[in-house]
Symmetry: C2
Subunit: 361 residues, 2 copies
């Protein structure tokens, strides 16, 4: 069903750029606004929203559906010329915001037919709306992370001497599905020992041995919303002194950054809170990535938690806090990641799985 | 290495539309012209080709490479403004052909900065060149289909009572790799019994039983070029009278259409040759799709073999001939597909696996 409140958020964002009509083609944007997935492949699909007008969904008749979803549906056939179909739906005297990914083969005919007075990339208007989760979305984000917490508990039981990263990763989807998730939000990262010192490591045939670090970076989709969490464990043996110091630095960076989160905080300062702690501990050069990323219906949504982000946190933002230290010299990689939700008066950490050093196996 | 002959073909096609410069972004188009795969994800990538000028490859410095490939390389950094980089590379007083999939976020700034006098979808110029395979490409198409013939022979040995479609499909990639292929050209279709009457059926847990039809629609990639072939077998038992008649109708449609192929033939008439035979046999309504599709580096390239195609076949065209009858009443689906290469004086059928009725198991 078309979500009029979300539509108003998008229109209000558009107005900031003097836009009063836009044509969206991203299936995620259309699901966000209409609650319905349509994946048209190569075919044209658009949701047109305008001030003071019922939204119009333009779709190929192959995707016809009868359900009433609060939008006007306009169908076309394969081979039909689109500009004459779209002309009456747009105001030719006003600028049109278009989806950033609208392909040239669809955009150029609109421009040539002068269906609007100007054409502007307007995906940011939807991205900005999606960055402010409403109550329904917040609840879905909580549920996805709750299931991720339960899954992490199960994943700690999978370890045994000699098992490979791939053999563990292959069991994760089944566990997520048993717990009620729809699937992965991304392919799980399972890294043993030195592999954990590569933040982009993908599971391979490395065998688990006593004394290894076990790093899980995992997430699932529940009701179309994503979770994403990382924990780093030690297999069968207490960590050595330096590994323990590294772990506690990362933990401190994670918890300090999370505690610092609140509406009105500069995003760059949230990153800095974690980064300074790791730098002061002597591992600044081994924290090689941004602190986090925005997340929601997609694992990576518009918005970095990094020094380069000029914005401030706002109620409804959900993003990851995932400091890490990747020390090839020490042969140790540690990352601790939670999702946080910025609330009206502070922050809610969506993951509850503990941060303590845990020996598993 | 930049293939100047192919580049000239593209430029010559562009001239037919009074275009003298184009900006290509499709990784396949760039591989076709430069012999190098670059998959930039979300980042901008373009090959600019112009009359009387060395081609220019514009790419993010993350994709830097030293090899000399006969093009000028222009690198940019993340965050760098692209229009000032592209301005000097384009002729602002002439129209620019652009890739049909160039996203609005890249196209709109070029238009706003008036980097060309007009912007036109020009992917057809590359598609038309790619539709005329040169000798190197023809040899690769032959090799891919030869391996597909060998694989089909191996696939006939996989059947046994009670095996599922998925269990057979799961063995195919290994066989292709043993035979020297790089991978699938598309996910294999394995359909038993009534499932073969659904042309879009994907392998599932259906178990094979005596008397079933076994339909394999399979292909592999060899040296970047694709094969694609379908055969329909009978498991353990001779087909009944009507199933045999359906099989022979499809075989006759396939072989007649293939024999009709030659340079100068209307594509629509090739389709009609097969379609008329099936219609005269009383199964016209059960041949529910086009006769075939063009193929090369991609399994589906520009060009249908259908009634709607107004073009004539030309030397270097490679496409599939795949008539089928899908009769739910008879509980039978039969499709027989080969690839053909139009030669200077006729046609070469690239698949050699026989068309005879074959009982397997």
């Amino acid at each position: 069903m078309y979500n009029a409140l979300r539509g108003q958020k998008v229109l209000s964002n558009l107005r900031k750029n003097s836009l009063r009509q836009c044509l969206l083609s991203d299936p995620y944007a259309i699901y966000y606004l209409c609650g319905r997935w349509i994946f048209p492949g190569e075919r044209f699909l658009a949701l047109i929203i305008k001030e003071d007008d019922k939204p119009v969904l333009v779709l190929n008749e192959l995707f016809r559906f009868e359900e009433e979803i609060g939008v006007r549906k306009v169908y076309y056939k394969d081979g039909q010329e689109l500009t004459s179909l779209l002309g009456p739906l747009l105001n030719e005297n006003e600028a049109l915001g278009v989806d950033k990914n609208l392909p040239a083969r669809y955009l150029l005919p609109l421009i040539d037919a002068k269906l609007a007075s100007a054409f502007v990339n307007a995906s940011w208007a939807v991205d900005d709306a999606r960055a402010l989760k409403d109550e329904e979305e917040r609840e879905k984000m909580r549920r996805a992370s709750l299931i991720n917490d339960q899954a992490m508990e199960r994943f700690t039981k999978l370890v045994k001497e000699g098992i490979t990263e791939t053999e563990i990763a292959d069991q994760m989807l089944g566990i997520y599905k048993e717990l009620g998730a729809n699937g992965y939000s991304f392919e799980p990262i399972v890294a043993f020992g030195k592999n954990a010192a590569d933040p982009h490591h993908m599971p391979d045939d490395t065998k688990l041995k006593k004394g290894d670090v076990v790093l899980y970076d995992v997430g699932c989709v529940v009701d179309e919303y994503c979770s994403d969490m990382t924990r780093t464990f030690f297999f069968l043996e207490e960590p050595g002194e330096e590994a323990r110091r590294i772990y506690e630095l990362v933990r401190n960076a994670n918890e300090s950054a999370e505690a610092f989160c609140a509406p009105g905080r500069k995003i760059a300062d949230i990153d800095k809170t974690a980064r300074d702690i790791i730098a002061e501990g002597g591992y600044g050069k081994d924290f090689t990535h941004r602190l986090g990323h925005f997340i929601g219906m997609e694992t990576h949504e518009a918005g970095d938690v990094s020094q380069a982000n000029p914005n401030t946190a706002a109620a409804g933002n959900t993003f990851s806090i995932e400091p890490g230290i990747y020390s090839l010299e020490q042969g140790v990689g540690v990352r601790i990641e939670d999702l946080v939700l910025i609330t009206e008066d502070g922050v809610e950490v969506l993951n509850h799985y503990p941060h303590d050093i845990q020996i598993i196996g």
